[in-house]
């Protein structure tokens, strides 16, 4: 229930992290039309994302850029129901994405995660309306075992927790030693986020802060 919701960081940083996901409603859309048509609509969603300048796409069922080998492979793998993603780092592009999705009228549910006020503005400019909202009330409990905040900011960009803290520290260490650039580090970390929803570009910026 919290996939993409608990991304952490400053408002300035979160402005560059806007996640779109699309999926069919199980037992509704997938019974209304054939599965291959559902797949085609999801492919179109990602194609629109690419046309509007998203920084990455992914399919939670089939894989990411790294596991599948490329953008076309992600599109080709999307042949039936799945949750698919497009990640943006720019508000204007997100508005264009919303407008394009409204025009395309694919019928798949679309969820957009990001700064609430900014997304409200995006909806207003694109003619969309928020139907249902999920609010994050933060993290509670025994927080003593959690990593430092910058590490958390990177770790929480994989909703399933598969970008491990150890690997983030390992990559940060390599950057500090000059064995990897921040951009390479961000892309490296994205590999284990199987859904492809990890914002490698924002991760690179956070890694630069850690390394400095």
């Amino acid at each position: 229930m919290s996939h993409t919701l608990h991304r952490r960081g400053s408002v300035e940083s979160l402005k560059k992290d806007i996640v779109f996901l699309a999926l069919p409603a199980h037992r509704y859309n997938d019974q209304d039309i054939p599965m291959e048509e559902v797949g085609a609509k999801l492919r179109r969603f990602m194609e629109i994302g690419l046309e509007q300048g998203c920084i990455c796409i992914g399919n939670a069922s089939t894989g990411n850029l790294h596991t599948l080998g490329g953008v076309q492979q992600i599109l080709d793998s999307t042949t039936s129901g799945a949750t698919v993603h497009c990640v943006f780092d720019d508000q204007e592009k997100a508005i264009a994405m919303m407008q394009a999705l409204k025009e395309a009228d694919l019928g798949m549910s679309v969820v957009v995660s990001g700064l609430f006020d900014m997304l409200g503005e995006c909806c207003q400019k694109s003619g969309l309306h928020m139907h249902t909202v999920e609010y994050s009330l933060g993290i509670w409990g025994n927080t003593s075992g959690l990593p430092a905040e910058p590490i958390m900011e990177i770790n929480t960009m994989c909703g399933h927790g598969m970008v491990s803290v150890g690997r983030i520290q390992d990559v940060a260490d390599k950057i500090k030693k000059g064995r990897m650039t921040c951009e390479e580090g961000g892309k490296e970390l994205a590999k284990t986020c199987t859904c492809g929803i990890f914002n490698w570009k924002r991760a690179a910026e956070i890694l630069a802060e850690i390394a400095s």
Partner: protein
């Protein structure tokens, strides 16, 4: 997960990929702490072992629960991972109706994971406050008494990356549930993230947000928004073009 000791060359590359730090080097061989390991298979999927020594054995009950809840390649009722469609498809399913709110409590991760015993503690809290468990959620399938929130005792010591308790409550009981969950936080060995879901009113207001504001309950500036584009084709009036 286990490490085939005959194949392992002790390079240690796998260690950093474990989300719960269950892999260590011992006598120049990688060893996986079986209590900490959640069977997520991230180490294996990372494909960094030069000898393919990381092995996911056939799991028996109740250890299977670890894999079901932690391995993202697991599909449960149409959804990868440990959650459900929840609000993502609410524009089509109407699962969260006006007058009700959804609450999700995800226990575990990052790094700390959770036991099913801790999940039961929160399940019992919300059950005591009249919450209705989401039927499609895998954790609900392990709750043997929905009136009390008691979990199958056979799995209480199983450790998972995370588990999400998803419930619906009448909107007038949202505040008491949220406050009860927060009050139970110090009973846990792990962490949890807390979410509230509510459908917007026609004027754009949101009853859950109003309640949180009135109660002085803080929420993050970022949120998840279903933008209402989902519908069935039979309702569509115009033809659309998409890649067939």
């Amino acid at each position: 997960m286990i490490v085939d000791q005959k194949l392992c060359i002790g390079c240690g590359r796998c260690r950093v990929y474990c989300p719960v730090r269950a892999i260590r080097l011992e006598n120049r061989k990688a060893v996986i702490d079986q209590d900490l390991c959640t069977e997520c298979a991230n180490c294996q999927r990372a494909n960094i072992c030069p000898k393919q020594a990381l092995v996911k054995p056939a799991l028996e009950w109740p250890r299977q629960v670890r894999s079901q809840m932690s391995d993202v390649t697991t599909v449960y009722r149409g959804v990868n991972g440990r959650g459900t469609e929840e609000m993502k498809t609410n524009d089509v399913t109407g699962r969260f109706k006006k007058g009700f709110a959804g609450i999700a409590v995800e226990l575990g991760r990052p790094q700390v994971s959770t036991t099913m015993r801790d999940l039961e503690k929160i399940a019992m809290v919300v059950a005591a406050h009249g919450a209705e468990f989401e039927e499609c959620n895998p954790i609900t399938s392990y709750i043997v008494d929905k009136a009390t929130g008691k979990v199958n005792p056979e799995i209480l010591d199983e450790r998972v990356i995370s588990g999400i308790i998803e419930v619906t409550v009448p909107i007038e009981r949202l505040r008491e549930n949220v406050e009860a969950i927060i009050a139970a936080a110090d009973q846990l060995d792990t962490v949890f993230s807390l979410d509230v879901v509510c459908v917007n009113n026609e004027d754009g207001s949101n009853d859950a947000r109003t309640i949180l504001d009135e109660a002085g309950i803080w929420y993050r500036p970022n949120a998840k928004n279903n933008v209402g584009l989902g519908h069935l084709d039979s309702r569509r009036e115009k033809d659309v073009s998409y890649t067939a």
